[in-house]
Symmetry: C2
Subunit: 324 residues, 2 copies
DNA sequence: CTGAAAGCGCTAACAT
DNA sequence: ATGTTAGCGCTTTCAG
C-alpha cells in the first residue's frame, strides 16, 4: 500500500508538498503539482483515511444501531440514512443489535472506540444511563432521552387516525397488536391514542403485545392465530407495524376471514411492503425518508447549544388502500 | 475524550504501562494494574481504535457494497453478514450503490481509503478492471471475477427446478421475469437453465427483464401488468426474485387472475417475505444465512494461496407453498 | 517490573 | 514555492 512518502519520493518532493496537493492548500507550481499527481496515479495512491482521522479527530463515520436490519421498516430507514450520510460525505457503520441490550451496549462502546462523529440510535433496549459520558452527538429514533435530539412520527396522531377510521367504518370488536409496551418507546403513543379514542366510544380493545426476547417473526403468528381463533367476532385490528399487519392478513387468508369484509386491518409505517400485500394495506404513513434526512442532519450539523431543539416530530397521514 | 496519556498521568505511570495493561502483555504488578484500571474507569477511557488501526495497519472493518438495502434479499443478506462479521470481531461498513456504477466506484475508493480489511461485493454494475490494484481480500456475490472468491447459490439448478415444476404441473404458456441480463451476473444462469429445460419441452417462454437504470420498484408493475394483460393464456411464471414474484401475485389479485388456479408462480430467494404473501409463495430456497457466513469467512480468513478455492456454490431446493 | 523513544501516515505551523 | 518538524493516540522494541 503506497503511502504519502512513496509518492513524495517518486515525485522528488517532500511529504508536505504531496499533502498540499492532496488538500489543495497553499501555493504550488503547476509543475510540481503535475509531478505529484502523476506519481499518485502510478502508485494508485489513496490517502489513508485512518491517519487523517487520527490527526483531524474526526472519522467521518456515523454509527447506526438498529434492532433488526431484516425488519422492513429498519431496512428502509437504514437505506435512506445511508443515502443522506453519503450526501454529507459521511460513511455509515451499521450495527444490528437484534433487540439485545448487551449487544447494544457493546456497540455503543465499540462505536465510541471507533471515534464515530455521531450516533443514530434506533434500538432501545438499553437503559438511559448508558448514554452518559458519550462525547459525540446522539440522535434518537422514537425515544426521548434527556439532552438528546430525537426524531419520530406523530405517533399519537397516528393512533387517533387508526382508531377513528375503524370506528367510522363501524368496527365494534376491536383488537390492537403492538410491540412490547415495557420498552420506553414513543411508538407506545400509538397504543395510548388508540385506546383513548376507543375508550371515548365505549370500546375496549383486546391488546396483544410482542415479546421482547423473541427474535423470530414466527412468534408473530403464535400470537395472531390464537387471537383470531379465540375472537371470531373481531371486525377491526390496528397493528403498529406493517409487518405485523402483513402477518394478520396472511393469517386471515388462511383462516378464511375476509379482509376487509369480515375484518378491517390498519397498519403503521407505510413501508413498500404494504403496497405489495393482498389486499394492499391501509396504513398510517410516516415519512421515513424525511425522518432519515433529519436524523442525518441532526447528527451531522452541531447545533448551537442555545437553540437546541429536542423534538423533531413528523406528521403522519392515513393511506387508504383496501384493508379498511 | 480521555487518551492513554490522561490515564497514565492519573495512574502515575507511563503510557507504556497503560498500553500493557490494555493489551495484557508483559509483567505487571497487581498494584499498578489495579491503579491503571481504576484510572480508566474514572475517566471512562476507551482506547482509540483509529490510533490502534494506524499502528496495526488493520482497521477491523469489512466493507459491504450492495445494490439496495431496501430490497428484502439484500436486507436479509446484510443482516446476516453483519451478524457474522460481528462474531469475528469485525465491524461492517455498509454502502448502498443504488445500482449506480459511479457510486459503486466511489465506494471502492472510499473503502480503500478507509483501510478496510476486506470487501464483500454484492453490487455489480462495475467493470471488472476497477478491481485491479486493490490490496485487500474481495469476495463477490453472484459474479465471477478473476482471482477472487465468490459465493452464490446453484443458480442453474434453481432454474431447472423451477422449470421442471412448472412443466410437471402442466404449464404450457410460460413467462419468465428476471433482472437485466446485460449485467454479467451468475444469477443469469437461472434464466439460462429455465430456458434450456423449457426448450427441451418445446416451450418458448416470454421473457421480461427489469431495466438497469430504474431504481423504483413501481417499474416492476409497469412490466408485469402489460405482460399479464397481453397474455391472458399465461399459466406459469418463474420470477428470479421473491420481490418480483410478490409484484406478480399482487397484480394477479387485482386483475382477478387466480393463483395457482389460473396461473402458477415460482419465485427465487426464499426471503421471509415469501411466507408473508397471499397465497404463500412457492420459491427456490437459497441458504442466505450460510452464504453470508461463508462470505465473512472468506473475507476474514486469508486463504493460503496454494489452495485457493474460487467457487463457493450453495445448494438450492424448492419450497413448495401455495402458488405452484 | 517499568520507562524512554521511535514510528504508523498524515497535516499544519513555522521556517526559508 | 517548498522543506523541517512536531504531533494526533497508540504499540513496541530496547534499556534498565
Amino acid at each position: 500500500m503506497a503511502t504519502i512518502k512513496d509518492v513524495a519520493q517518486k515525485a522528488g518532493v517532500t511529504v508536505t508538498t504531496v499533502s498540499r496537493v492532496l488538500n489543495n492548500r497553499g501555493y504550488l507550481s503547476k509543475d510540481t503539482r503535475d509531478k505529484v499527481f502523476q506519481a499518485m496515479e502510478e502508485l494508485n495512491y489513496k490517502p489513508n483515511a485512518i491517519a487523517r482521522s487520527l490527526y483531524a479527530k474526526k472519522s467521518g463515520i456515523i454509527g447506526l444501531i438498529l434492532p433488526a436490519l431484516r425488519h422492513p421498516f429498519f431496512a428502509e430507514l437504514a437505506g435512506f440514512i445511508e443515502q443522506y450520510a453519503n450526501l454529507h460525505a459521511y460513511k455509515l457503520l451499521v450495527c444490528d443489535s437484534n433487540h439485545d441490550a448487551l449487544r447494544e451496549k457493546e456497540f455503543v462502546d465499540l462505536l465510541k472506540s471507533n471515534q464515530i462523529d455521531a450516533l443514530i440510535m434506533a434500538s432501545h433496549t438499553l437503559d438511559v444511563r448508558e448514554f452518559a459520558g458519550l462525547d459525540y452527538p446522539i440522535v434518537t429514533f422514537d425515544r426521548i432521552i434527556d439532552g438528546l435530539s430525537y426524531v419520530c412520527s406523530d405517533n399519537y396522531r397516528g393512533g387517533v387516525l387508526a382508531a377513528e377510521r375503524l370506528i367510522h367504518v363501524g368496527c365494534e370488536h376491536v383488537a390492537h397488536i403492538c410491540g412490547n409496551l415495557q420498552l420506553d418507546l414513543l411508538s407506545n403513543d400509538r397504543t395510548k391514542a388508540f385506546l383513548d379514542v376507543m375508550d371515548k366510544h365505549g370500546i375496549n380493545p383486546i391488546i396483544v403485545q410482542t415479546q421482547t426476547d423473541v427474535f423470530d417473526y414466527k412468534h408473530y403468528d403464535n400470537m395472531i392465530y390464537p387471537l383470531l381463533k379465540d375472537h371470531p367476532h373481531l371486525n377491526g385490528i390496528f397493528a403498529t407495524s406493517d409487518l405485523l399487519a402483513a402477518h394478520v392478513l396472511r393469517a386471515c387468508y388462511e383462516m378464511n376471514i375476509k379482509v376487509p369484509g369480515d375484518l378491517r386491518v390498519i397498519g403503521y409505517d407505510d413501508v413498500s411492503l404494504s403496497e405489495l400485500l393482498v389486499p394492499q394495506l391501509t396504513t398510517i404513513h410516516q415519512p421515513i425518508q424525511e425522518m432519515a434526512e433529519m436524523a442525518v442532519i441532526l447528527a451531522t450539523q452541531a447545533q448551537e447549544a442555545d437553540r437546541f431543539q429536542q423534538a423533531h416530530v413528523f406528521p403522519v397521514h392515513m393511506i387508504q388502500r383496501y384493508t379498511c
